[in-house]
Structure formats: C-alpha cells, structure tokens
C-alpha cells in the first residue's frame, strides 16, 4: 500500500509578514518556511494509517522553491514518512492552485499511490483547491473536510468522519481516493531528535523546474494571478476599565458588552 501526502511550505506563525516592495505578495525575506497546520494533521493521519497496516509506505511530496520544499519534506521525513519528492517551482511560477496541482500530479504519475492525503487548504493562501484538483487530474474520487480516517476491513477501503453543519457524517469510500483533511482534529506528533538528525541526511528526489514547467504550462496562461497583497489594518488597542471595586468593574464591563460591543441584548 502506497500513501502520498502533499505538503506545502507555509510561513511560520511567528514570522513577521510584510508586503514585498511591489505589493504583489508577502516578502519572503526573513520568513521561515515550515510544515504546519493542516499539513501537519495530514502527515499525522498518513502515519497513523501506516502504523495500522504494516507494509504501508508514505511518500511526502512538496512543490515550491527547492530550499523551502525540502525543508518541509525533511520535517515530514523526521516525523516518519519513508520517502520524499521535491518539485522545483520554475522561477516566477504562478501560485495558481491548479498549476500546483498539475505539478503534484506529475510526481504522483511517477509514484502512483492508492491514497493521497492533503490538508483541506494551505495555512497561508487558504485556497482549498489543490486536493480536489489533484483528484480531477488523476481521475479519482475525492472527499473533503475529512477527519479520523481508518481502514475499513482490509486496506482496499476507508471509513472516515466529516464534521458537517449540525452533525457528524460517517463516510465509506473505496481506494483510490484523494482526501482533504480538516485541521487540528488529531494531535500531530513531534519528531524525535535522532529522526531529525537522520532526516537531514536523507535523500530527497528532485524533479527539476524544466520538467515541472512543461507539466504546468497548460494552466499557466489561464491562471489566476495575485495582483496585490497588503496587511490587515492594525488592531485597535484594548480598552482598559478604571474601577475602585470589583462590583464597579463588573458593572462597567457589562455596560460596554451591552452598549458598545452589543454582545448582550
């Protein structure tokens, strides 16, 4: 059984983002690129399935500038993925999710997997398109917003949960399939120190930008392009309440919640 998990380098939550000089996107200068959020949950899910079915192998696949993609692939290897493939983004590549999906499909054509797992959206641009687009390109089924995926009987089908408005669905689906996973429903493991050391020396297969460009070209001309990027307006400061007694503080707080924040009727 082959599982592929798709991971995207996203800015570390503690990195300070600012627009690049042209205002077209976040300035990559000084940003730390990490495996995070949805993708961490996806890797964890792939590893849980691997542990539940001996003989299963997990390949992590990432698309992006080589250094960034390999950084998150090494993180995935340290967590327990077996192999890794890096797709080198052509210079000035489009960030269009369909182009990214075409690149990922190129790696999946080289390393066919019965199960492809990804986060339901990336932690940075939150497009949420790559998973379904990969399924479309591979011509297989896809399920979104999945949690708690387990083998259904053998390893030919899966059972999973979907949190929907007002309830929890249980879904059975045969392989092959592409699953887009909900974030933070599992508790992703931390890589062990010896595995981190091993991952730094591990081989990562690299698919060169020229090959990637050829595969993504059809969508490049029609791709959506980001035309500007700016930071959200600065948050206004907290409001301090002056008071002499706790009762007075509570009274003032309730008044503000009711009249200004309109939290209470």
């Amino acid at each position: 059984m082959e599982i592929a998990v798709l991971v995207k380098p996203v800015p570390d939550a503690e990195s300070r983002l600012r627009p690049d000089p042209k205002g077209l996107g976040p300035d990559p200068e000084g940003v730390k690129w990490v495996l995070a959020g949805y993708d961490e949950s996806a890797v964890e899910q792939a590893l849980l399935l691997k542990e539940a079915a001996p003989g299963t192998t997990v390949r992590a696949i990432s698309y992006g500038p080589v250094a960034r993609a390999e950084e998150v692939l090494r993180a995935a290897l340290a967590l327990g993925c077996d192999t890794a493939t890096s797709l080198e983004a052509p210079p000035d590549a489009s960030t269009d999710p369909v182009a990214v999906a075409r690149a990922l499909a190129l790696a999946l054509a080289r390393h066919p997997a019965s199960l492809v797992i990804c986060g339901k959206q990336a932690g940075d641009d939150e497009a949420g398109i790559v998973g379904p687009a990969v399924a479309e390109l591979l011509g297989v089924a896809d399920v979104g917003v999945a949690t708690n995926v387990r083998w259904d009987g053998g390893t030919m089908a899966l059972t999973l949960d979907r949190s929907v408005e007002g309830g929890l669905e249980q879904v059975r689906i045969p392989l092959p399939v592409v699953l887009s996973l909900q974030q933070a429903w599992n508790d992703p493991r931390t890589a062990k120190l010896p595995n981190i050391l091993k991952s730094r020396k591990a081989h990562i297969e690299r698919i060169a930008a020229t090959e990637v460009e050829a595969a993504t070209a059809p969508s490049a001309s029609t791709a959506a392009r980001r035309v500007s990027f700016r930071l959200p307006p600065a948050r206004t400061g907290a409001q301090m309440i002056d008071y002499r007694t706790p009762e007075e503080a509570a009274e003032k707080l309730v008044r503000i919640l009711r009249e200004e924040a309109k939290v209470f009727p």
Binding site: E71, A78, T190, A191, K192, L193, P194, I196, L197, S199
Partner: protein
C-alpha cells in the same frame, strides 16, 4: 573562517527543542514551581523525543550530540523552565563519568538501560561538609574481596529521589586527598543506598534534590569506573564537559527575562505612553540585551572549543560564570521593568531570578570558576 551561522541540522534541533519547551514545559512551569512538583510525565516525554542523554554516543543508543548542539537545546529548554531543564540534563552529568572512565563492557552494560527506557541517574559528588573542595571527600570506600563497601552521605543531589543509578565519588584514604578518590556506578537497588527526602528549594522547584546516604553499600569491583586513584580526575573532566551547558541554561533564563520585559514594556503605559518609549526603560533593555548576547557568544565559543578537542577549562569557566551572573542581573532588571507586578508570583519574572541564582552556585560556584580563570590566565604570563 569563524562562522556564527547555525547549520540546517543545528537549526532544526533548536526548533525542535523550542517546540517542546513551548508546548510541553512552559504551560506547566508556574504550577510546578508553586507546588514544587516533579513533573515526571514531562521528563518521560523528553526522554521519548531523545532530549535526555544528549551526550551518550549513538553506538550506545544515545543522541550523540556535540556540546554545541547540546547547548542550543539546553538554552531553549531553560527559556521555558530552568528547573525542568536541570532534571532533564542531569543524566548527561551523571552518565559522563561512565563515558569518561568506563570500559567498553561497562558502557554497554550501564548506558543501555538509559537509552532503551526512561531512567534517571544522579551525579553524587557534593557532601554536607564540602562541595567546591572536592579533594576532601568524607564518603569512604573500603575494598572487601570482589567488592567495595561505601559509607557516607552526599547532598544536593539532583533527581536522587527518582534515580535508578548513582555515579558516586568516595575516598579510599582521606590522607591521600585527590589521589585517594574512586568513582563507582551504584544501582539504586543496592542494599544500604538510601536517598533522603526532597529538599524545599528557592528555585528549580520542578527538579527534585535530596541527600543520598550509603550505609555499608556493597558495590562489585565490576562497577568501579577507572582505576582506584582516577576518581578525582574523572569528576573534574566530567565537570569540564557539563559546565558549558550551565552557561546555555543561564542564557535561556536571561532570554526569557528580556522577552518578558520587552513585551511588557510595549504594553504598559505611564505618563501617557508605553514605558518602552521612556529612555529609563530603553537603557535597561539595551543593557539586558548586551549581557544576554555576550553570554550566548561565550557559551558558543566554549562549546566550539571543546567540540574541536580542546580542554576548554578557561572558556567553559568564563561562559558559566559570566552567563549565570548575567542571568541574575537580567532577571533582576526584568522585575524592575515590571515594577510591583514583577514582585508578584502571578507574573513570570520573579521565578527567573530564583532560578538564575542556582546557576551561580552549582556545577562549581562562580568563585571557583574565577579561581580557575585566574589560574589559567596567570599560567600564560609565566
């Protein structure tokens, strides 16, 4: 070429330690400090991730890190809680005598359990009547057939109430001073090994400290580390290895103090503006940052020296002494930036001062470090 940039491997080790410190240690630091609780569940997790036994070579199942990498990790852990860090790195100290003085057979036999499962070890050198004067040990070792019999008492022993192995220094003959000292590895289950009750400490309250009494404890000759007259040298060479991480621990405490103070100074308003805009506070922050930065560089350079095969006595003493004195000053100034709130246990900075204090005392007091520094220095003027 001198290079201050970390390699990708070093960066990923540091990030992993930072994640563990933030996610697993920091949320429990205040509670363990208040209650004096030994959070064994956290230590067990640290072991599972390979954060214990950092100095044990990979061929014995340890992490096999260089001192520089150990220091990167220790600084991150200490940022979250110095007390927990003391307990997490105590195995490095306690197992070092085995690495330095043990035979191949002893290393395989004694180190394997620590790498196969979560176990703690304690380094037993200090005695009630003396710590710095290590040549005047009173714990006696007497040869009796195929074993030695130990009698005496050790104190201020980290992790002792929970340890499964003690590395113990005892004298065959006090009149021989340094030359009479022998090192042993003593399993906890040995009859006559009696750890005392946990001490109430000013800081490092998540770490457990107690006495260990030896009453006719019989230790097989196979558990003697090195020759009969080698104990003192093993103890000193052990401390040469473990002194630098105390510089890293102090740097972690100072970094935490600066982080808290700088963040608070931007939030706290007086005279109509954040106190970070008052020069009085800016001068404090700038001084704190300089002391912190110098601590880190001294620590890195000491570790680098030792990793390159140097003895590093001068460098490691400077790093430990300077960084722990600096951590005291920086923590003190952090409290001052917080004002009255800093004195309250509800805020995190007073703990840093209590934690920093120990770094000036243990693993060789800063007075002893200065003697070492002066001695090394004066030799160069001979």
């Amino acid at each position: 070429m001198v290079d201050f940039a970390l390699t990708e491997e070093q960066t990923s080790l540091r990030d992993m330690a930072r994640k563990f410190a933030k996610g697993e240690m920091a949320p429990h630091a205040a509670e363990c400090d208040r209650a004096g609780r030994f959070p064994e569940e956290i230590y067990r997790k640290a072991w599972e991730l390979g954060l214990m036994n950092l100095n044990v070579p990979t061929e014995y199942g340890g992490s096999g890190l260089g001192l520089f990498e150990q220091c990167l990790i220790v600084e991150e852990l200490a940022h979250a809680c110095a007390g927990m860090t003391t307990s997490i790195i105590a195995n490095c100290l306690a197992l070092e005598p085995i690495l330095l003085g043990g035979t191949e057979e002893q290393k395989r036999r004694m180190l394997a359990p620590f790498c196969a499962d979560y176990h703690l070890a304690s380094f037993c050198l200090t005695e009630p009547s003396g710590g710095s004067d290590a040549g005047s040990l009173k714990t006696r070792a007497r040869r009796d057939g195929d074993s030695y019999v130990l009698d005496g008492e050790k104190c201020f022993i980290t992790n002792a109430p929970f340890a499964s192995l003690y590395t113990v220094f005892a004298t065959m003959d006090p009149t021989l001073r340094h030359k009479g000292i022998v090192a042993f590895a003593v399993p906890r289950e040995t009859e006559g090994v009696l750890p005392g009750k946990e001490e109430e400490k000013m800081g490092h309250r998540a770490s457990a400290t107690s006495t260990v009494r030896f009453e006719g404890a019989r230790v097989p000759v196979a558990n003697r580390l090195g020759a009969e007259n080698e104990g003192f040298s093993i103890a000193m060479r052990t401390l040469d290895q473990t002194r630098t991480p105390i510089g890293a621990m102090s740097t972690g405490i100072a970094q935490a103090a600066l982080d808290h103070a700088a963040e608070y100074s931007k939030r706290r308003q007086t005279f109509g503006k954040p106190i970070s805009e008052h020069q009085a506070i800016q001068i404090k922050l700038a001084d704190m940052a300089q002391a912190l930065h110098a601590s880190r560089l001294l620590t890195w350079q000491a570790a680098w020296t030792i990793d390159r095969g140097g003895r590093g006595s001068l460098e490691s003493s400077m790093a430990k002494c300077f960084a722990s004195d600096a951590a005291m000053r920086v923590a003190d100034e952090a409290i001052q930036v917080f004002g009255g709130y800093g004195y309250m246990k509800e805020y995190p900075v007073e703990k840093l001062l209590r934690d920093a204090k120990l770094a000036q005392i243990y693993e060789g007091s800063n007075e002893i470090q200065r003697i070492v520094i002066a001695r090394e220095l004066l030799e160069r003027y001979a």
